[in-house]
Each structure stands twice: as C-alpha cells, then as structure tokens.
C-alpha cells in the first residue's frame, strides 16, 4: 500500500490483449493475472490535489484478434503512473501502441496477464459497462450517433445511467454552454448539420456528460483543419485546467502535446522511451524525441515551443470554453 494509492494502475509481466467481446476468452485470460492488486482508493469528490490516478506498469503485451493464436506484440515494458487531475499525453507515431494503451484503461482491450487498475481495482474485476460509463471517451471524427440529435448524443451516458429527464435536460444545456455551442438551436440538430469542429465539441460534451473523473481522448482533433484544430486545442486546454479531470490524451502531434500535457509519454514500437514534463522532454537527447522535436517547425527550436506551452492562454484569439 502506498501513501497515495493510485486511482488507476496497470501492471503486468506478460500480457496478451484480446478484443473485448469474446467473453469466454477474456475470462480465461483473466486467470493469468499475476500483478499486484492495489487497494481501492476512496477519493472525496471535489478533491483536486495531485495524486496517483493511473499507472501502467509491465514488460510485455500482445494483441490477439479473433482466430489469431500467435498474437502480435503491441506494447511492452510499460511502466506508467498518472495522477488525478493530471493531463498525460501519449505521443508516438502510428502503430506505436498509444491507442492500445488507451483502450486498456476502459477495458476495450484486456490484458491476459498482469493488470490494469482503475481506482485501485483491476479493470477485469470492474463491470465493463459501469467502468466505461465512468470514463469519458472522445475519438477522432467524434463518432457521434448520426440518428441522434446533439442533445440525445450528449444525453447518452446519463440516459444509460437512468437519470431523471429534467436532470438530463439541465445537464445537456450546461454542457452545450461549456463547449461553446449554446447559441442557436444546436441541441436539436443532427451531427450531419454541424461542422467538423462543432461535431468535435459535441464529442467532448458527450464524454463529459456524466461528469467522469477520467477522460480518454484518442486524437480528438486529428481530423480537423489546422485553424479549427488550433482553436479547439486552445479552448480545450483551458477547459481541462478548469475541470481538473484526469486526462489521457493520444496524439502524434508534438505541438498539441506541448500545449496540453503536464507530462508527455513518448511511445516507440510499443515501448515507453520518455516520460517527462514538456520542458524536460524537449531537452532529452533520445533519437525519437529529437525526431519529434525536429518535426515542430521544420527546425529544432524546442525553446520556442516550450515557451508557447508555458503560456498558452496568452496566445491571441484564445477564448475559454
């Protein structure tokens, strides 16, 4: 037992992942768990003090699709701790394992050995639906339900949680205001009637609907045009600071990582090669770190980028959500 028990933690020596849905396989896989079970942490609501919120530790992980008996190594030697209220950015090239890591946290993927602890409890011991309803999830292109209005999309998790109708309506209104969509008749519109940036705002609002403590974001702004992307990054950065959620954010864009992260975790071929604050990160000499740093401006002027990260709210045109 640690002084600050983690809200989420993952540990394994060897892990195979299976896509969620093959229940029998998953159950068998769960038998192989050898990791440490942390004590369940009771956090008082509203507590914003940084404390371990999520940690992922382990050596080897494999992915296994249906019919694939070999399994493919997706992530390995993972050791990661994330504190409550902290924004951790998982940075890496395509196929580096960052999405895999993300999907472990809400049990979209399951380890076959080792463990992933959320609030001190292995994800495999959680009811997966309950677990996921307590974790906000935002993906690229938003993944909004095309047959639901904006309001119905945002109300999804509260309705799954069987909230009373007036409470849902009030919450939807509150969230639309939070993400800057309170003007006009956005609530009654369908996703196809929105711009890409507006859809992504709805995606964020939907993820926040049931006030989850953890937010998982998988390249949420990746499909937007550069101007809209910058706008949303800025606004989201401010929002994240205000909300104090534990955020795990996947991106391949270092600029985005510098803007949002309290800590940047760089993944390469399924391994963590760096886990630093943005300022420290840019000083690292690791080849993959340098490769990302060089991608910033077409030169390696890391200092300028670091300055931008320190004071994002001073950038022109920034509006809080």
């Amino acid at each position: 037992m640690t002084a600050n028990p983690p809200e989420i933690s993952i540990q394994f020596n060897e892990v195979k992942y299976r896509v969620h849905g093959t229940t029998a396989e998953n159950r068998a896989a769960a038998q192989g768990y050898t990791g440490r079970y942390a004590e369940r942490q009771v956090l008082r609501p509203g507590k914003r003090k940084p404390e371990p919120s999520l940690w992922i530790a382990g050596q080897k992980a494999e992915a296994q699709g249906a019919g694939d008996t070999q399994g493919r190594v997706l992530i390995a030697n993972i050791s990661l701790e994330i504190h409550a209220g902290q924004t951790v950015v998982l940075l890496g090239r395509s196929g580096s394992g960052k999405t895999t890591l993300l999907r472990l946290i809400n049990r979209m993927l399951e380890p076959t050995s080792g463990e992933v602890l959320v609030q001190g409890r292995p994800t495999t011991e959680w009811n997966p639906f309950e677990l996921r309803r307590g974790i906000g999830y935002v993906i690229q292109e938003a993944g909004l339900f095309p047959h639901f209005t904006v309001a119905e999309n945002i109300a999804l998790v509260p309705s799954l949680e069987k909230w009373e109708k007036p409470r849902i309506a009030a919450r939807v209104e509150e969230l639309l205001r939070l993400v800057g969509l309170d003007g006009e008749d956005f609530a009654a519109r369908y996703p196809r009637q929105l711009s890409g940036g507006q859809r992504q705002r709805v995606g964020v609002a939907r993820a926040l609907a049931a006030d989850p403590r953890i937010l998982l974001m998988d390249e949420p702004f990746g499909a937007l045009d550069p101007v809209t992307r910058a706008e949303l990054q800025r606004e989201f950065g401010a929002l994240a600071k205000r909300l104090g959620k534990t955020i795990v954010f996947v991106t391949h864009d270092l600029r985005e990582a510098l803007l949002l992260a309290a800590r940047i975790v760089l993944l390469q071929n399924g391994k963590i090669v760096a886990s630093e604050t943005p300022q420290e990160f840019l000083k690292l000499q690791d080849a993959e770190v340098r490769a990302f740093a060089d991608s910033l401006n077409g030169n390696s002027d890391g200092n300028r980028a670091a300055k931008e990260q320190v004071a994002p709210e001073r950038r022109p045109g920034g509006q809080p959500w």
Partner: protein, 210 residues
C-alpha cells in the same frame, strides 16, 4: 370479347382475386420478415452461422419458382396442393433479400460510431437496439421492398398449384387463348407490384439517416 368488357363484367371477381393475391403476399411477407430479421440480428456476431444461413437462403433463391412449388408438393405437412404450400415457397423466396439486407445493414455501420457506443458503456444489446438497428432500418426496409416485389410476382405462379390469386386469370387466359383474361390477371399484378414498390420506397427514404 374485348379486355374492357371482360374487366367490367368480371370486376368483382378481379377485385376478390386481387385481394386473395394480396393476402397470399402479406402472409408470406409477415412470416419471412419474422424469420429473416431476427436471424439477421443473430448472425451478426456469429461468422460460422452467417455463412450457413446466407448460403441456404441463396439456394432457395436459385431454384426456379415453378420447380420449387413442384418440390414442395410431395413433402408431408408443409406440402400438398393449395395455399399452404404456396406460402411456404413464397417465404423461402423472400428470405434472402431480407436476411442479406439485415446483415449488411447491421454490419455496414461506421466503426467509429460502434466504437464510441461500446466505449461509452453500452451493453451489446443496447448497441444493437439503440445504434445498429435504427441505423440499419432503411437498408433492411430496402430488402423487404425487394422481397415484396419478388413475392407479388412469384405469387402469380402459385396459382399453378391451386393457391388462387391473380395467376388464376393468367393460367386460365393462356388455356382459353384469351388476351382479355390474361390481362385481367397480369394488369392488377403489375399494378400491385408497382404500388408496393413505390410505397415502400417512400417509407425507406423517410427512415434513412444520412
């Protein structure tokens, strides 16, 4: 005898035969929908069963309709001469379009939408009822539309095994070498098919989510 005089002197017979035809179609379609849609939902997550189910449905579709009626006649309980045999054959014919479209509709959904649904904590049942089915509805309906038009056509042949319907006029007209009698069966059957197609197309467009 001109077609017009035949139509006016036999209008009540034509009307009742049309209704009989419609009854045959509606009963067959109701049964086919009741089998094919649940089956389609069932096979979405079961690849092994999917191949078998779609394969069997395709086989029935391949057998010429008159031959299928012929095959069914000697089979006990479901066979014999009359309406029951006809309904069995028509159901077998209607299965494939509905089953295939149900399957295609349920599986052709944007993976990002399904991922979001799962990640937000929907159970597989909720994903099916609240996401997959509503989004697949127009595709499923397109299958029902195809099946209905096929069934209206094939049902005319059912008259050959004593099931009644508009085929009665056609077969009788051929035997009598009378265009008027043939048309008394052919025209209502064609109109019925066009009407059903139009109405279902309208409904399909209203249900489409783009």
């Amino acid at each position: 005898m001109s077609a017009y005089t035949f139509f006016s002197t036999h209008r009540w017979e034509i009307l009742s035969t049309t209704l009989e035809h419609l009854e045959l179609v509606l009963i067959s379609m109701a049964i086919a929908v009741a089998i094919a849609i649940p089956l389609g939902i069932f096979i979405v997550q079961r690849p092994g069963l999917r191949t078998v189910a779609l394969g069997i449905a395709s086989v029935f579709q391949t057998i010429p309709s008159l031959a299928l009626f012929g095959f069914l006649i000697p089979i006990p309980f479901i066979g014999g001469i009359g309406k029951r045999t006809a309904v069995v054959a028509l159901v077998l014919y209607a299965l494939l379009p509905i089953l295939r479209n149900t399957y295609v509709g349920l599986t052709g959904i944007d993976p990002a939408v399904l991922e979001a649904a799962t990640a937000m904590g929907m159970t597989p049942g909720q994903v099916m009822w609240r996401v997959r089915l509503p989004l697949a509805l127009s595709v499923i309906l397109a299958g029902i539309r195809t099946a209905t038009v096929i069934t209206i056509g094939v049902a005319t042949i059912a008259a050959a095994i004593g099931a009644g319907g508009l085929g009665t006029f056609i077969f009788r007209g051929v035997a009598m070498v009378s265009d008027a009698v043939i048309l008394a069966g052919a025209i209502p059957a064609a109109l019925l098919a066009l009407l059903a197609d139009g109405l279902l197309a309208l409904l399909e467009r209203r249900l489409r989510v783009s």
